[in-house]
């Protein structure tokens, strides 16, 4: 059965907002990374829905791009988190605020 | 060509001084002294040869950035040469006075000193407005370094304040220069910064007034008129002695020179409109400066406020627009330069010896340092306007001249003479007379210091008894400027009727008006 595009895009939008909320409101750097993943996947879902509407494979290709990019980004991000933990002994982002004033 | 060489000489000596500072402390001093002495000799030789010249005595033109209409155009007439003479004289004095006082980074100190003098020389001879502004800014930066590196306890604050005040007001002047440049360009099609071509630019009176305000603010801030005088006490107090001498003796005069040379001829009508305000500001400066001088306990701050008061006389005299007052202004520039420099030298010499500037801790010093006392007495009498010394001639000429222009303000200004007495005598009483507060063991003036003071004394007495030697040189330039500022006003009023004068026919008046109206319709 066909799911109307609007519902799919709505789902994507809701997921995006949940992800954005998570990035802005979570203090834990790992949870921020998780929320960014949610945002990325939401964007990917939007692409799939659009691709399904037009009946083209471009949407799914974009999704594969996004997955790849997310993977690369997560690995770099996790490396940075380990460095941050070694320096600040905490994964609270508010602690890493020495560039203030 | 010689004018460019003078500036290059100063800059070259400055650079040499900086370099030689690495090896010896005396070498920079000797190099600087040599450089300025050559300049003094050159200028005196000019003055000797071309006494009653009208117009420019020396001039030099060379194109710099033709696409913008900027040239290196310099010229000196009697007024500029007198200012250059004062520059070189006070330059020698400041090198001599810092001979023993400055002992760190001597090379860089003399580099800055030379560049300040070069900038001042440029200001006094520049005839291209861009070059003038360039020299104006060149004066500022070395002075900032002089204050902030070799200054007294509050040097950073004072240096910043000095720089911000003069830079900010200079920016307004630059906007006015650009405005003038563009208006002249649009009306005649020639975009130029040349002073002589910009005189007589046709502008509406409102535009002229606005542009004039830009210039005036820059010069008034430099001249330290109330209410823009706040930078002066701090800068003068915190600067080293040589810095104070140059600040008080020369930098303030560049403001006055700018008003005389640029504002009055470029904006004659607007100047006439502004005159009552300017004269009132002058009188306020005289009295307010005197009142503040009386209250100070820091000797250098006191002398700084004396400068504010005397500069009020200059502003009063410039805007009186007659020859007597303007000659008084020229005289005051020179006499005040000398007498205030001398007072700062005494303050600096004292500060060197007893490490304090607080007059509440001094007293009864005539006993230990009679020579310093005698010199202090002479220059205190000069600053209160004793006849027989140069300042009296200056003040009396200014007062007589401005009495023609504005009687009530002049009467109020004359009471500045009483105020001058009050603060000047306080200096003598607190420092040299009275009981000894603290048992200071101080050495009297050395031969070098005595030579400086005696030469300044000779000059100030000479100016008081034979002022004609100076006034004759500046007579023609001053008359030219007065003619320009007074004549142009009448010219604009008869502009419409100039062609009628040629025909000398009454009917032609109607014809001219008719022509104007029809010309409007044609467009």
């Amino acid at each position: 059965m066909n799911i109307p595009m609007e519902q799919g895009l709505l789902l994507a939008a809701v997921l995006f907002c949940i992800g954005l909320g998570g990035v802005l409101l979570r203090r834990d750097i790992i949870f921020m990374l998780l929320s960014i993943e949610v945002m990325l996947n939401a964007a990917g879902l939007a692409f799939i829905v659009a691709g399904a509407k037009w009946g083209q494979a471009d949407g799914q290709v974009m999704f594969i791009f996004i997955l790849t990019m997310a993977a690369a980004e997560v690995s770099v991000g996790l490396a940075l988190i380990i460095q941050m933990f070694m320096k600040f002994k905490s994964i609270d982002t508010d602690v890493a605020s020495t560039m203030n004033g | 060509m010689i004018l460019v060489w003078l500036i290059i000489l100063l800059m070259g000596c400055g650079s040499l001084a900086w370099l030689s500072g690495r090896w010896s402390s005396t070498l920079p001093r000797i190099i600087s002294l040599a450089g300025i002495t050559i300049q003094v000799v050159t200028i005196i030789s000019f003055l000797m040869q071309y006494k009653q010249h009208s117009g420019w005595i020396v001039s030099y033109t060379h194109s710099w950035m033709p696409s913008f209409g900027i040239q290196i155009k310099m010229a000196a007439d009697g007024l500029s040469l007198l200012m250059l003479l004062l520059t070189s004289l006070l330059g020698i004095i400041s090198v001599l006075i810092s001979w023993k006082e400055i002992n760190e980074q001597v090379g860089f100190f003399h580099f800055n000193l030379m560049f300040v003098l070069a900038g001042i020389t440029g200001v006094f001879v520049a005839l291209d407005l861009f070059l003038f502004y360039f020299s104006w800014e060149v004066m500022l930066v070395p002075m900032y370094f002089l204050i902030s590196i070799w200054g007294n306890e509050n040097k950073t604050y004072a240096a910043y304040k000095f720089f911000l005040f003069t830079q900010g007001s200079g920016l307004l002047m630059f906007l006015s220069i650009l405005g003038l440049y563009f208006i002249h360009g649009h009306s005649t099609g020639v975009f130029t910064f040349d002073y002589e071509q910009l005189i007589g630019t046709k502008m509406t009176p409102q535009t002229a007034f606005v542009l004039m305000i830009g210039f005036v603010i820059a010069f008034i801030v430099k001249l330290s008129t109330v209410p823009f005088h706040s930078w002066l006490p701090d800068a003068h107090t915190q600067a080293p002695t040589a810095g104070s001498v140059i600040l008080a003796g020369l930098l303030l005069k560049t403001g006055a020179y700018g008003l005389i040379r640029f504002v009055l001829p470029l904006f004659p009508l607007a100047s006439h409109q502004f005159a009552p305000v300017a004269m009132a500001l002058g009188v306020i400066s005289i009295l307010y400066g005197a009142k503040l001088a009386f209250a100070q306990t820091d000797i250098k701050r006191l002398v700084a406020y004396i400068s504010v008061s005397h500069m009020g006389f200059i502003l009063l005299g410039i805007y009186a627009f007659n020859e007597i007052a303007m000659q008084g202004v020229v005289m005051q520039m020179i006499a005040h330069g000398i007498s205030t420099a001398a007072l700062f030298i005494i303050a600096g010499v004292l500060h060197d010896r007893i490490k304090t500037r607080d007059i509440d801790q001094m007293g009864g010093l005539w006993l230990t340092v009679p020579k310093m006392g005698a010199m202090g007495l002479i220059f205190v009498l000069a600053s209160l306007g004793l006849p027989g010394l140069g300042n009296f001639i200056a003040e009396i000429l200014i007062l007589f001249g401005s009495f023609f222009a504005n009687e009530p303000l002049t009467i109020i200004a004359t009471f500045g003479l009483v105020a001058a007495t009050i603060y000047s005598l306080r200096i003598m009483q607190k420092i040299f007379y009275g009981k000894e507060r603290t048992q200071w063991k101080v050495a009297d003036l050395s031969i070098r210091e005595m030579a400086i003071m005696l030469s300044l004394t000779t000059v100030i007495i000479w100016l008081g008894i034979f002022p004609s030697s100076v006034l004759d040189i500046s007579r023609k330039p001053v008359q030219n400027i007065i003619e320009e500022v007074n004549g142009a006003r009448i010219n604009t009023e008869i502009q419409h009727y100039s062609h009628i004068e040629k025909k000398g026919d009454n009917c032609s008046i109607n014809l001219a008006v008719f022509k104007d109206n029809t010309a409007h319709i044609k467009k």
């Binding site: 508010d94 | 503040l292 006849p387 007589f400």
Partner: protein
Amino acid sequence: MKELLWLIVALPLAGALLLTLAGKRLPRLAIAFIGVGSVTFAAILAIVVGLDFLHGNAAGIPYEQFLWQWINVGGFSPNVAFNLDTVSLTFIFVITFVGALIHLYSAQFMWKEDGYARFFIYMNLFVAFMLVLVLADNMLLMYMGWEGVGVCSYLLIGFWYKDPANGYAARKAFIVTRIGDTAMAIGLFILFITYHTLNIHDVLAAAPGKWPVGSSIAVTTALLLLCGGVGKSAQLPLQTWLPDAMAGPSPVSALIHSATMVTAGVYLISRTHVLFELAPIAQNATAIIGAITLLMAGVAALNQHDIKKVLAYSTISQIGYMFLALGVGAWSAAIFHFMIHAFFKALLFLGAGAVILVMNDEHNMFKMGGLWKKLPITFWTFLIGAGSLTALPLLTAGFYSKDKILWLAYSSDRGSVWLWLAGLTGTFITALYTFRMVFIVFFGKTKGEPTYRPGIFMTIPLVVLGLLSLGAGFIELPDNIGHVTLLSDFIEKTLPATMVMRYGNNIELLFQIIAAMVAIGGVATAYVYYFNKPFPAAEPERTKLQNFFYKGWDFDLLYNTIIVRPVVFLSRIDKNDCIDRCYTGIAALTLTLHKLFSTTQNGKLRTYATVVAIGAIVILTIIFYL
């Protein structure tokens, strides 16, 4: 010979210059020689030049000597030029002659003091400036002399600089006189703007044509010049500086504050007499000021205990007489009295100085007494001076000069009976305080022993001045006693004769007798109250009223409250310049804004992300919907 006129001024100047350059290295005798010699030679030259001037010049045509062009700017061209006529000749004679005597006296008086050379430098400079004042042919040069004598007076009053009270007195003198000078300067402005010259001769010649009699501009100018004179001559209301000026050494008081500088006002008014005649209100004001001052100062003198203060108030009072004379148009009488006053007042001050010196610096009259036997020459010369001051009839010169003023105060066309009465009362008071002084100091019980007799160089001037105080009056005898008019003829070559309205030899004789009786009556009263009476050796007890008079009618309190304290207060509260607050305010504002904005840089990642998100939403909304 007349060409040597400039040398009269140059000699004291040269003396001062020489002493400035070499004074430290010269022995005392050399310093004294230079200091005294320069003025003495100037005096001799003055006589020589004067004789040459008068030779073949019966009409008294002025002699002008141009030295150099001082200023020449846009039509304003005062020159350094001297103008010698009978009036300036009289003044030069007095200045140099009395000056030379005083210099001789002070050579011995100041012998033990520090700053011996400094003293003579200042004294010589003073003489030079005073000569410039009276010889100047234009008002700007006269103003130079005017200010110059003010400066020298300041330097000499504060000569003993170690005591701050002396410095205060010196500054007070300078500042108060400067107020008068400022008024005079404004008068000079008006003169220049009207006549385009400051040459005295030209102005006086053009004035009657330019200004109608009684016009407001003439009155304003004359009043301004009067203010200048009032300041310099210590008349009401600027008289407060003279009693304090007694802080200086006695020769200074003798030269400056009795004989010469304080008479500069008299010189000024008589020189510009044409302007005063064009402004009757101003001239009346002169007379009234003179009359009131002479009474006030006389009463104040009556309550002093310091011998020099008595003489100071006496000077104020006597110059009041001169102003009175000027005010009624009695020009030659004023100058006559100036000359005689110079002689006897200098004599009195020198005598007082001698007494103070030998009594170990004791100023209080009540601590002296019985000195007439111990210091005979001083006593006799002092007595002559006192007699001249009191105007003892027929003998003393003072009688002739004061009597002439009294008579003309009544009989001149601008005189009145009130002015005469004021002068007459003044005579009584003068006699009273003068002989009070004489009796307390020289008679009665000896309270303190003089340590030595004054030396020869101090005595000679006393004697010479004594002889002059007796004999100099005979050059001008009134109409009914001999009718000798040497001086008035001399002066009237330059200044106009007095217009006498009411006259008659009988009335004049009656007035003379009244004046003589009043004077003798004053002496008698002093005798009754003060001769050989026991006094406590301290300041006398004073009632409140007497205290008020003692303080010189408490003008000091008045000026202190109205002028001095407010000015000082206003200065002190604004010491740090309230205008500076604007600029430091701008700097403070910038700093505050900086602190405000820097709170946005908190280094927290979440904040930055939030701001980016909100900003993106806002911008996208704006782009898509606007």
